[in-house]
């Protein structure tokens, strides 16, 4: 799948997944514990899954085992010693990219002990048990070898040592291993260049929270440095993770010189960051970038060069002469490398034009939710209610999100929208579809709506029947839900509560002042869905009152183009009836253009197209889009809106309703 990025205006907060490095280590540490330990918030990534599976296989008593490490180098390098110590014959299988990366430390070790092994391009097979001895290795290799051997010594409760020649790279990863070992009761001491197990004590805690991952967070930390308004939540301040250094690098928001030997995973995103800062940055210690999931040095220089980044590699360093903005339409390859894909995504937000990120599935390796979190940060997504295909096609270049009114399930109006066709059109035109099923469902309708939801479970839904949340809770897809019952949502506390259930966004009422909406966001930082233009439903009844009236009064009018008028009021209320009941709308269209710059934090700004022609909607969207992008002033926008010859009102934007008895004038 590819990802298309056009305009992107982030605002809000993001919580990245837990550290994969710690995840692997706590899983391996569980092998050293007599009792089961709970590892909370294990990151949901393919690599972690590989380690989890491998642990289960190692626990089995068979003499010969096969472990599929898939694409996880960490699994292979950190588990090989224990696996080969506990089993007579171990075959590691996996993706080819894994076995072209160095394994020489273990190869030397096996050679020294006279153990036969066979290395193929997609497997590594060992034919005898590894023996515990004093190990001696060079420090300029991947720290994962050292971690693997530390786990082995702890597992064997051995007093043997690991001696490191030459200085160690990625020292912090070894510290992370030692911390995890210490957490489960194994204390190592470093004496000169040797590590030795000095104490084994009973485990103190049985449940471990894994800290959030700085490597993944670095993408959003850089995004914030470049575009502001992004908060990365819950990162541990006292972490041993080497990539924490990203916080120091972005502090000055100026070009930088940095050595990334101890934070090699920051490479791709730092290339991007340097490219987007006005001036010359220098990154050194980059040679190991070539041994990662892809040749990251090659990948990043290739792709950044496409957009004309001034980038020069010299020896172990790279010099980038960056600028704050790029222009053009580009297609970026991702080399099946998650960090390359994430970094280029951040780069794309700085390009005026249309960027395509190819094959984005590769982020599953470490951060399957990356694009979901990335999309979630985007704000002021222009969202249009769609009742017919023509509106969608006419407005496709002006909207980010299509609020597709599903016939039979949406709140109002019969329509013949072909949902599958509309979804397909959306996906082909970089529009996010939301399936709108905002009716309230009777018990006998539940099975029907349930199967509809399950059929389309990959997409977002707008709902107003809270019972439906139970269906989404069950499938774990509650984050796909926009709770869209705006009349009921008038304060920060209820907003925060619904948001805390994990829904994607919550609709706020148009019957409260805008100042209350702003306040509710300040208090909760929740994702808000908010109507800024168009008709508002003001009455919905399951009773078919018009048909009943017709029958009762023996009238014969058709139900098209009807409105109601009350004696003392000089306006007409649009009224409509279908088989699910009766609907009345406000007599005017709301338009909150005047406030649009104050509504920067609104995730989905919603336009109701009901009773408007495609031409008018297009004009409205163009005016709003230009105003948001500051291509025109608010005054110019208001003037254009007034020329549309619609009845426009700001509703309750500036005045609250009255409710207390003493205030009501009879």
């Amino acid at each position: 799948m590819d990802k298309i990025i056009t305009t992107y205006k982030p605002i809000g907060s993001v919580k990245v997944n837990a550290s994969k490095s710690y995840g692997h280590r706590y899983l391996i540490a569980s092998l050293l514990c007599d009792e089961n330990i709970n590892i909370n918030n294990l990151p949901n990534s393919e690599d972690i899954f590989a380690t989890k599976e491998a642990i289960n296989i190692i626990k089995s008593k068979q003499e010969s085992i096969t472990i599929n490490v898939n694409q996880s180098g960490s699994t292979l390098r950190m588990l090989l010693p224990i696996a080969c110590y506990t089993h007579k014959h171990v075959k590691f299988a996996g993706d080819k990219s894994i076995f072209v990366r160095p394994l020489n430390v273990y190869e030397n070790l096996l050679n020294k002990q006279g153990i036969k092994f066979i290395k193929n391009d997609d497997s590594f097979e060992v034919f005898d048990s590894l023996k515990i001895v004093d190990y001696e290795i060079d420090g300029d290799v991947s720290s994962q070898f050292i971690s693997g051997l530390l786990f082995l010594l702890a597992f064997a409760k051995s007093k043997n040592s690991i001696k490191i020649n030459k200085s160690i790279v990625s020292n912090n990863y070894i510290d992370m291993t030692l911390k995890v070992l210490n957490d489960v009761g194994y204390t190592f001491k470093k004496d000169h260049n040797s590590y030795k197990l000095v104490d084994i004590s009973p485990i103190k805690q049985k449940s471990f929270d894994i800290e959030l991952d700085y490597s993944n967070a670095s993408n959003f930390i850089v995004l914030n440095a470049l575009k502001e308004n992004v908060k990365v939540n819950d990162l541990p301040s006292d972490s041993l993770q080497g990539d924490k250094v990203i916080l120091d690098i972005v502090k000055s928001k100026k070009p930088f010189n940095v050595d990334i030997v101890n934070s090699i995973d920051l490479g791709p995103i730092l290339f991007v960051y340097a490219s987007c800062l006005n001036g010359v940055s220098h990154i050194s210690g980059i040679s190991r970038l070539q041994d990662k999931e892809s040749n990251r040095l090659l990948a990043m220089t290739n792709e950044l060069s496409k957009a004309g980044v001034d980038i020069k590699v010299q020896g172990d360093g790279v010099t980038i002469n960056g600028k704050s903005s790029y222009e053009g339409d580009y297609v970026f390859e991702t080399y099946n490398d998650h960090r390359v894909a994430m970094a280029l995504t951040i780069f794309s937000t700085m390009i005026k034009g249309r960027s395509t990120i190819k094959n984005i599935e590769c982020v599953n390796k470490s951060y399957p939710n990356f694009f979901k979190d990335f999309d979630n940060l985007n704000s002021n997504k222009m969202t249009l209610s769609i009742y017919k295909q023509s509106t969608l096609e006419e407005c496709s270049s002006l909207i980010d999100v299509a609020y597709l009114n599903v016939p039979k399930y949406s709140y109002v109006y019969e329509n013949d929208l072909d949902i599958d066709k509309a979804i397909k059109y959306c996906l082909n035109h970089n529009i996010e579809p939301i399936l709108t099923i905002t009716r309230v469902y009777l018990e006998n309708e539940v099975e029907d709506i349930k199967s509809f939801i399950n059929k389309y479970k990959d997409y977002k839904f707008a709902i107003s029947d809270l019972g439906l949340l139970e269906i989404f809770k069950e499938s774990g897809l509650i984050n796909n839900v926009i709770y869209d019952s705006p009349i009921m949502m008038c304060n920060s506390s209820d907003l925060g509560l619904y948001a805390s259930l994990g829904v994607n966004a919550v609709s706020m009422s148009n019957e409260i002042p805008i100042s209350d909406i702003i306040n509710a966001y300040r208090i909760t930082s929740s994702n808000i869905f908010y109507q800024v233009f168009g008709r508002k439903l003001m009455f919905y009844s399951r009773r078919k009152l018009l048909s009943l009236y017709k029958e009762h009064s023996s009238s014969s009018f058709s139900l098209d183009n009807l409105s109601l008028r009350e004696e003392k009021r000089n306006y007409e209320i649009p009224i409509y009836e279908n088989e699910y009941g009766l609907y009345c709308f406000r007599h005017y269209h709301i338009s909150l253009l005047k406030e649009i710059h104050n509504l920067r934090f609104i995730k989905y700004i919603f336009f109701e197209s009901l009773t408007l022609t495609d031409e008018i909607i297009k004009e409205v969207l163009t005016i709003y889009r230009n105003a948001i992008d500051k291509q025109i002033s608010i005054e110019q926008g208001l003037e254009s809106i007034s020329k549309l010859d619609l009845e426009i009102d700001d509703g309750f934007a500036y005045s609250d309703t009255i409710h207390q008895k003493e205030k009501i004038v009879q």
Binding site: G467, N561, D656
Partner: protein, 394 residues
């Protein structure tokens, strides 16, 4: 199984006490805050306490409605108010806001009931609110009897069902007619009942509705007494009567009737004749009634009513204060103009209404009077049939 609860509205302490005397197992009332009936004379905390003391003495419960859709300003002092209600002895809070539902469970020992304003129409909705901690869900009035039975069979949470009184024509809580047309906030107790106004129907701007037959968005009132056996058998926890703004006479009449109907069903496992009960209810009802959605969709004659509000045809004239067994003298407090030498109907708790013929009526000083014209004046008359304190006369 627990016996079904008969839940009565009460607009003030007097009505609360009458509701309980006439057989309500629980009453719901509005406090000074967060209540949807700002026009009903709402209870102060000390009134609530007195009401709870009275109710508990009579083995009844008191629920307080906190069912507005809160705006930001309404969040102030929420916890204090809920604790005040708890201290006053309130058994449950009826709320639509998830904030209030959660707070009630977190900071007090009261029950939390989900208001019908949340329009719960399916078992998933019941489960959702149960997951927030709700002890009971008041179902939306759009549910048919079959829906109610199915929801009851699929959930373990207590269910409450409206059986009598006025209904929102729109889906409760989702109507903005009053807000838009009068600026009075229906979801915060200011409902102007714009749905009951008369409207012209226009097509392309031209009036097409019938001059002799006005259109309104309102619906007939609900009367679901004939569904009581099915509701009891389905395991519904509570039968609710609407009407916190309704009169004492209305409450006594409706509660008396439902009480006897429920008791007859528990005693005989069947109802001999619903018409007797329906006839009694009609003496309190002041609008045309229908079964609402109990049987599914409505036919025109069931739904559309003649919009003139018809007054109850039995004038409620007084409350019995005392009966002297030695002299057979009844002392009453006048509630409507009334004269002697006529037949009166007596409404007494747990009994069918019965008729008594009276002769002359006297003022408190023993003077014969032609009619009792002054509000709340004391009136006496002779009756061999012994009346009881708190009986109503009409």
């Amino acid at each position: 199984m627990k016996r079904i609860e008969l839940l009565s509205p009460a607009g003030d302490l007097e009505r609360l006490k009458y509701a309980i005397r006439y057989g309500a197992d629980a009453v719901y009332i509005g406090g000074k805050h967060l209540s949807l009936r700002s026009m009903a004379s709402n209870f102060t905390i000390s009134d609530i306490k007195e009401g709870c003391d009275f109710a508990h003495k009579h083995n009844a419960k008191v629920y307080v409605t906190c069912n507005i859709v809160m705006h930001e300003e309404d969040l102030n002092n929420l916890v204090d108010y809920l604790k005040d209600l708890e201290d006053a002895g309130v058994d449950a809070v009826i709320a639509s806001s998830p904030t209030i539902i959660k707070l009630v469970k977190e900071v007090t020992k009261m029950e939390a009931h989900v208001s019908t304003q949340q329009s719960v129409t399916n078992s998933l909705g019941v489960k959702f609110f149960a997951s927030l901690g709700a002890d009971r869900v008041v179902l939306a009035r759009e549910c048919s009897i079959d829906n109610i039975k199915e929801i009851a069979s699929k959930t373990n949470t207590e269910l409450e069902v409206f059986v009598e009184g006025a209904m929102c024509a729109g889906v409760s809580g989702r109507c903005m007619l009053s807000n838009i047309m009068t600026n009075r906030d229906a979801n915060r107790g200011g409902c102007a009942q714009s749905c009951r106004w008369n409207y012209d129907i226009l097509q392309n701007g031209q009036k097409i509705s019938n001059n002799s037959f006005d259109f309104s968005l309102a619906s007939a009132d609900l009367n679901a007494i004939e569904f009581i056996p099915q509701l009891i058998d389905a395991g519904v926890a509570s039968l609710k009567v609407e009407g916190r703004m309704k009169s004492l006479h209305y409450i006594a009449t409706i509660i008396n009737t439902y009480r006897r109907c429920i008791d007859e069903y528990y005693q005989n496992k069947s109802i001999h004749d619903f018409n007797v009960y329906k006839n009694n209810l009609s003496k309190g009802e002041n609008r045309e009634v229908s079964h609402g959605f109990f049987k599914g969709a409505l036919t025109p004659n069931e739904e559309i009513y003649n919009h003139g509000i018809s007054q109850p045809n039995h004038d409620f004239v007084g409350i019995v204060l005392d009966y002297d067994n030695n002299t057979n003298i009844v002392t009453i407090e006048q509630r409507n103009v009334f004269s002697g030498n006529r037949e009166i109907e007596v409404l007494s708790p747990y009994m069918s209404p019965y008729k008594v013929k009276i002769k002359a009526i006297y003022d408190k000083d023993g003077n014969v009077i032609e009619s009792a014209r002054n509000a709340q004046m004391i009136v006496r008359f002779y009756s061999e049939t012994p009346l009881k304190e708190f009986d109503l006369i009409r």
